[in-house]
């Protein structure tokens, strides 16, 4: 057919490279970009003046001798984990190590990182050196400090300039190497420069910062180990990629990522005091009964030949699940019953040959096992003893609330969006009302309601910690907004896609799961990431209801320490840097994700 013509054309036409755009000399570049006409000149001068004033103000704030930067340096541990007991501190490091392992392995498995040309690195160093020098000239430094900073800036700029001139056009370096080198330099500085002190051992002279306690309470040795673990995990991931196909490896790692937050929280950090007798007599038997009976039921339901009677069975299981809420019954049984009903209802969608059946049954056993374990762990008392209500605080509380809220609210939000666009009026009306209702209430009201009122409404004998109650409330709030974002994506899926899926005979759930949702979620990545960043930052409202999140510690705890009275501003600046760090990482991740799924290209 036409392929023949195409090859013929390719054979005759030589490919001509596009002409290189000539690089403008600096003077002309300036003229073209900054001083092209009178108005632009005015704008350039005006914004330069503003920039200089802001930098100068910020620098004189930071380097003012009155600033008590010791307050943040000394209280780093308080800011990260609040009052987590010292003798158990190893648990924190184990958690960090698990995360570093996962990050390292994932980077290898997803082939993260790109190549950076040495020239680009050189121009980056050159410009940052110049910026350092300009800032040094602006800063209110004494003569000697100014000189040192000027030398540092010139050295960086000089190194960049040399790199720019010497290196070839095509020479490049892996961006991962750069990141690791930067990290290693930062860790090395911990060993040389004495910051990162952890306990109040100074007597009148805040400069003498000593490290106290066990290895776990210091930072330099643990952080060094963490970086080494990360690098080792990277190479481990590389060997795994060579050994296993990525279509098996990647889902496994994603699964581990999802299991990590609850595992770290409930098993590592919370150190539950399992009552082994109860676990062996009750929890494990319940799980086994559900796993086996449910597995048999589901393997029958996923058989392609099981027709209408399968749907009836699934509906009966659902009915039984609801019925259990009206009889005295263990919570775990009720939850597993509802879960089984969900799996049974979805079974016809995923039915197929024996391989598909086996996969579905395995998914059921896995999910029910995780849920059983999760419920058991939640119901087991913690052995960690802390003065406050909750054993974590600071950055770890902020991250914990944000991660759990997002993980819980994503499925709820997607379901709400599907319900709101569904053809069935009852789902549509309920979901629309829920979304509109929740969106009409300020977040702080929901947080206060869930922290104070919900414990009062709970039936006798049921307890819910304040943080759990807040995470539930926050998740519902977040789900309502998420649903609207996802709905936007759902509506962007064209009618033709629905029709094409229907025309090949897909059922509504197959169409939703295989065709509509993947496209809708892909379109919604930018608003969804915006939402994630919002959820992360708005955890700062926890400070208002008196939880020891990082903002509360920075604003109300540290400035009241006798050593650091009135150090609010320093701490707030530091806290905003922490928020910025995480938010910026999320934003970067979103950009990479968008590029990977090719948003805007197809």
């Amino acid at each position: 057919m036409s392929d023949l013509n195409i090859t013929g054309v390719e054979g005759t036409v030589a490919i001509k490279p596009p002409p290189e755009t000539p690089k403008l000399p600096p003077r002309e570049w300036l003229k073209e970009n900054l001083f092209s006409n009178k108005f632009n000149t005015l704008l350039t001068l005006f914004s330069t003046a503003i920039l200089l004033m802001i930098s100068r103000g910020l620098l004189s704030f930071i380097f003012n001798p009155e600033r008590q930067w010791g307050s943040t340096a000394t209280n780093l541990r308080l800011m990260m984990t609040q009052a987590y007991p010292e003798e158990q501190y190893m648990r924190v490091w184990v958690s960090v190590a698990v995360i570093f392992t996962l990050v390292g392995a994932s980077m290898a498995i997803w082939n993260a990182g790109s190549r950076v040309t040495l020239r680009r690195l050189g121009s980056f160093l050159l410009s940052s050196g110049v910026v350092v020098n300009i800032l040094t000239l602006l800063a209110p430094f004494s003569g000697q400090a100014k000189l040192i900073w000027l030398i540092i800036g010139s050295a960086v700029a000089g190194a960049g300039g040399t790199l720019l001139r010497v290196s070839d056009k095509d020479k490049n370096i892996s961006s991962l190497t750069l990141v690791v080198a930067t990290l290693a330099a930062a860790i090395l500085s911990l060993w040389i420069v004495p910051f990162g002190h952890h306990s109040f051992v100074f007597e009148r002279t805040p400069r003498s910062m000593a490290e106290t306690g066990t290895v776990a309470l210091t930072t330099k040795l643990p952080w060094t180990i963490m970086v080494v673990i990360g690098i080792l995990a990277y190479f481990f991931g590389k060997t795994m990629t060579n050994r296993f196909p990525s279509k098996n490896l990647r889902p496994t790692i994603i699964g581990i990522w999802f299991l990590t937050p609850p595992t770290l929280l409930y098993l590592v950090l919370r150190d539950p005091d399992f009552d082994m007798g109860h676990v062996l007599n009750t929890d494990i038997p319940i799980f086994l009964i559900f796993a086996i009976a449910g597995g048999i039921l589901l393997s029958w339901l996923t058989r392609p030949t099981t027709g209408e009677i399968g749907r009836v069975c699934a509906a009966l299981v659902l009915l039984a699940g609801f019925g259990m809420f009206f009889t005295p019954m263990r919570m775990i049984i009720r939850i597993l019953m509802l879960l089984l009903a969900t799996f049974a209802l979805a079974a016809p969608t995923f039915s197929g040959d024996s391989k598909k059946q086996r996969r579905y049954v395995l998914a059921w056993i896995g999910v029910s096992g995780v849920i059983t374990w999760f419920v058991t762990a939640v119901n087991t008392p913690s052995t960690i003893e802390v003065p406050g209500d909750f054993f974590l605080g600071g950055v770890s509380l902020t991250l914990l609330v944000a991660i759990f809220t997002l993980v819980i609210s994503f499925p709820i939000g997607i379901l709400l969006a599907l319900a709101r666009t569904s053809k069935m009026p009852i789902f549509r009306i309920l979901s629309t009302w829920f979304i509109e209702f929740v969106r009409g209430i300020p977040l702080i009201t929901i947080l206060i309601f869930f922290s104070i009122m919900v414990p009062l409404f709970l039936p006798k004998g049921m307890e819910l910690s304040e943080v759990s109650a807040i995470v539930i409330g926050y998740s519902l709030f977040s789900a309502a907004y998420l649903a609207e974002n996802v709905r936007g994506g759902l509506q962007s899926v064209t009618r033709g896609q629905h029709e094409a899926a229907e025309a090949v005979g897909m059922t509504t759930s197959q169409k939703t799961f295989f065709i509509v949702l993947p496209q809708a979620l892909r379109v919604s990545i930018p608003p969804l990431v915006g939402h994630c960043i919002g959820v992360f930052k708005e955890t700062s409202l926890l400070a208002i209801i008196g939880l020891f999140d990082i903002l509360y510690i920075a604003r109300n705890v540290i400035p009241n320490q006798t050593e650091f009275l009135g150090s609010t501003r320093e701490n707030l600046l530091f806290v905003s840097l922490i928020y910025f760090f995480f938010a910026y990482q999320m934003s970067k991740a979103s950009q990479r994700l968008e590029r990977r799924v090719g948003l805007g290209e197809r």
Binding site: M1, S2, S351, A500, V504, G505, M506, Q510, R602
Partner: protein, 261 residues
């Protein structure tokens, strides 16, 4: 597409009078609000028959063809596909849809799936075929429509003609007994129309029952067993290509032909 080919490939010389009925429409009517899109449409299409539906735009030909696999609901009359009547019963609709393949004007490939997955998705999850078997079949179908080398690309990386051929392969993967084509070449650049028509021609000669809404008169003359001409939601004239193009009876048909020929 030219006249000389007509004599050697015309399917209209076949005698289909004894073949069983595949699609039966009796008095089908449909309204969009107050506008009547289909007005008492009755027609019977035999097994292996190739029917081309012609007509000016807005004449209801797309609406009719979309009623046949219930992408649109008819409000009056009866449609029976391979002995199954189309009603609101979901099971009947699913059964009919898995017997009827459809090719759209805008291709409607799934942009997030590779070409191979576009073709295998429905056989795996609707027909419940094992994955390996479905992939083998998909490779064979892509070979048949002439693009075996594009299996690992995404639809967005293909030309319009290639995309439409993938869409045909996707429909064929369900092993349908009937194929519906809703203006399959209207969104294509002129030089790509032929490659799609060639595939459709091959399909018609292989004995597939086909109903084609198109403006390609050459294709109609060459391949069709029967031409149905529609206007204002009604069937105006029916006939074999020879009679229809050379000796139309109705004035509206003559007017239409004088405009397009």
């Amino acid at each position: 597409m030219n006249e000389t080919e007509n004599t050697e490939t015309s399917a209209s010389t076949r005698d289909l009078s004894n073949a069983p009925d595949m699609i039966v429409c009796e008095g089908v009517s449909k309204w969009y609000g107050d506008f009547q899109a289909l007005d008492d449409v009755s027609a019977t299409i035999k097994e292996q028959e190739v029917v081309v539906v012609l007509g000016p735009s807005g004449s209801g030909k797309s609406t009719w063809i979309r009623c046949i696999n219930r992408l649109e609901h008819h409000q009056e009359g009866r449609i029976e596909v391979d002995g199954i009547e189309l009603t609101n019963d979901l099971r009947n609709i699913e059964k009919v849809r898995s017997e009827v393949g459809m090719v759209f004007q805008q291709f409607n490939l799934f942009p997030h799936l590779k070409v191979l997955d576009n073709v295998t998705l429905a056989p795996i999850w609707v027909r419940k075929k094992p994955k390996a078997e479905a992939e083998e079949q998909a490779a064979a179908l892509l070979e048949r429509v002439g693009i075996p080398e594009q299996a690992d690309k995404y639809p967005g990386q293909l030309s319009g003609g290639q995309q439409q051929r993938v869409a045909i392969a996707r429909a064929l993967a369900m092993e349908p007994r009937i194929m519906l084509f809703d203006e399959p070449t209207s969104a294509l650049d002129p030089e790509m129309i032929k490659e799609v028509l060639d595939v459709m021609k091959e399909l018609a000669l292989s004995g597939m029952t086909m109903m084609v809404v198109t403006h390609e008169v050459g294709f109609a003359k060459e391949v069709a067993d029967r031409i149905i001409f529609m206007d204002d939601g009604q069937i105006v004239e029916t006939g074999t290509p020879e009679v229809f193009f050379s000796n139309p009876t109705e004035d509206r048909t003559k007017l239409f032909l004088s405009q397009i020929l």
